[in-house]
Symmetry: C2
């Protein structure tokens, strides 16, 4: 009997977010998100699970790495295997055998980035599938319905990202449409919630756009906050703009968002970018960098990137990082990993992915610990002094987005 009560309690738990600690010296904060599928400690990095799998990994692998929240891509899952099929399977969690929390994007970014011919009207965006050329229409209502069928814990509004660089007028038009769509998404979301009171509660996040224009960022943020979402994402960044612009836009966007709501910087990024953004008060991140780079043999370590295929590792029988606790570092050497890459063994891709995702997960944990001890700034300085980066302060940054669209 008590088991049943606990179960019901978990299933029906609403989305919650609370700040546990704000760093005394900057905007960085440690928080806790509660979803129907568990707790998520923030700042959090979400591994990208585009097609109902984080490439090369099983759900057991993700659990062992310590992932608490992963991302699924609505556009890809809508096309294959289809949201109705996933709903029939009992939702995305059950389909991919993942017990912890999931966030799905709205698919907007993929519609615009994977399709050269899209037709955007007030109604929505018409596009051709990148797989078979078939025609589809995403309306704000439709993407909420799809995400409702997928059953993620956190779902996103449909937005029209303004491509960088773009004129003020273009960015303004995209903003107006994004605002209108956000409102319609919210209406549809609430309608679905009221229709199915027994389904586990999802949370809806709005997406702040505005390209590199401070006034538009402000307008977008204020408009969305007025609609009252469970969380706020900052979109349309890391698309080639200078890093100072990214940081400025993050700061402006977040300055209009209530402190007690989680903030999600979409598609970012490198360890340095994530640290910079945690410093500015961002709570959630996603990016394909650790996973995609790992499949190319470029591993993240506390000293920077390690190109494991390099001949210098041919007879190096130490782990990738002697201080790393991941299963790859506990069991295998650099020489072995290099051999696997060198001989084209796909085990290489999984072992490398495990390491780099663990690195990101552990990086977030270390930041949380530093914030809890009020020494985030010192921690950051120490980390960056050891970390060898190829990117300088004013260089352009393209993080790689939030979709795994290659098959390597």
């Amino acid at each position: 009997m008590s088991h049943l009560l606990v179960f019901l309690d978990i299933k029906l738990a609403d989305f919650e977010f609370r700040i546990i600690k704000k760093d005394r010296n900057c905007e960085a904060r440690v928080g806790l998100i509660k979803t129907p599928h568990g707790e998520v400690n923030t700042p959090v990095f979400m591994p990208v699970g585009t097609q109902a799998t984080v490439k090369t990994l099983s759900s057991e692998d993700l659990k062992e790495i310590g992932a608490e929240l992963i991302l699924g891509n609505t556009y890809h899952l809508y096309l294959r295997p289809g949201h109705q099929l996933i709903e029939k399977a009992g939702g995305l969690h059950k389909f991919m055998s993942w017990e912890n929390s999931i966030l799905t994007d709205s698919g907007g970014f993929q519609v615009f980035s994977l399709n050269s011919l899209t037709k955007t009207t007030e109604e929505g965006v018409r596009f051709q599938s990148h797989l078979d050329g078939s025609y589809h229409l995403f309306t704000p209502e439709k993407v909420i319905q799809i995400q409702h069928a997928l059953g993620a814990d956190i779902v996103m509004t449909l937005d029209e990202p303004a491509v960088y660089p773009c004129s003020f007028e273009q960015a303004k038009r995209a903003n107006d449409l994004t605002n209108l769509w956000a409102e319609r998404c919210k209406t549809e979301f609430e309608k679905l919630v009221s229709e199915k009171p027994n389904k586990h509660k999802q949370a809806l996040f709005g997406i702040i756009q505005g390209s590199a224009y401070p006034d538009l960022r402000k307008e977008s943020a204020k408009y969305l906050v007025n609609l009252d979402f469970s969380g706020y994402a900052v979109g349309g960044l890391s698309l080639g703009e200078p890093k100072v612009t990214t940081n400025e836009m993050v700061e402006i966007s977040l300055s209009y968002v209530p402190q007690d709501k989680p903030r999600y910087l979409m598609g970012v990024g490198t360890p340095e970018d994530i640290i910079d953004s945690v410093f500015r008060g961002v709570d959630m991140f996603d990016c394909v960098l650790p996973t995609r780079n790992a499949r190319n043999g470029s591993l993240f370590t506390r000293f920077g990137k390690m190109i494991i295929k390099n001949s210098e590792y041919a007879s190096d029988f130490s782990p990738v990082d002697s201080e790393c606790g991941c299963s790859t570092c506990r069991n295998y050497t650099r020489a072995y990993l290099r051999h696997l890459f060198h001989t084209g063994e796909i085990t290489a891709l999984r072992l490398a992915t495990i390491h780099s995702l663990y690195f990101y997960t552990d990086l977030m944990r270390k930041m949380r610990e530093a914030i809890l001890s009020d020494n985030f700034l010192e921690w950051r300085q120490k980390f960056l002094s050891e970390y060898c980066t190829e990117e300088k302060g004013t260089e352009k940054v393209i993080s790689g987005g939030n979709v795994e669209d290659d098959q390597s």
Copy 2:
């Protein structure tokens, strides 16, 4: 102190084999091999780990599947990463982080099957690397030295397999050379053992050849038994000969091998072939079928092959086999696996491989249980009545050999 003693005891344990139970109604037997790296229950199936990895799997995966003995390919490891490098790493076990037992083949089969231009003399076989065309010479002494450096628990003599079909004269010449080489392998093996008394003890197996000629099989077996090896392999079968011939050659070969030595049928095969050979008293098997087929989406189940990409599984939310205990069946559905194959996700290859290797491992366990209960024949009948096979009794069988040479 006691720990150290135990450790030394394990490290220096000699190779041992004992028969635990022989079935009352046929030649099938349950045995136990002891190696410096643990116990191996026979009949045993050895997953093929060509390039120091069983394709798509980590050593942890193999452990969970229950593998007790795996195969490494001398030819491939000699070329990449090189046996000296693996010796420097502390041996193949340490290089690939595998604690249980390993058998390495002699490389002869790959030299002949991967190279169209080989030059065989009494000295050895000269060949060009299939990777870069460089010239190499494998002598009996050399392959023992390589396998000594790799440090497998069981190593094989260099043989010249007679390609099927071939004339009696060709087969006779190959036999004579194989006999000569076996003797030289044994001499080199004993020399290396006496030079390094503190290294863990390896066991050397001889390989019976003779193509499809009963007299040559007999001659080969008697010659090798006279040299006294730790175990005997039957080679040169499953190369396209009729199944009745395979079985006949296995029977003849084994009839000259002492009961108290382990018998290994190389490169075999399908579940039916393995069952047929256990019936005839074979203890050890290896084959790429379960792993290679899995990567092509063809899974082994107790009802036969399952082509998981088929559309009939698109919304089938049951596991591959509801009675299977593998981690794939415990966690994932047919629909999910099909989706992963359909979208080209490489996680598919690993999950499928885990299932099919578990199926093979479990098949061997079930046979051992049946033999221990003296009802192997009934068990076999029941298994084959449920198992749907495409191969009929007199068809030709090519099992796929014992090397994973594709990169899929």
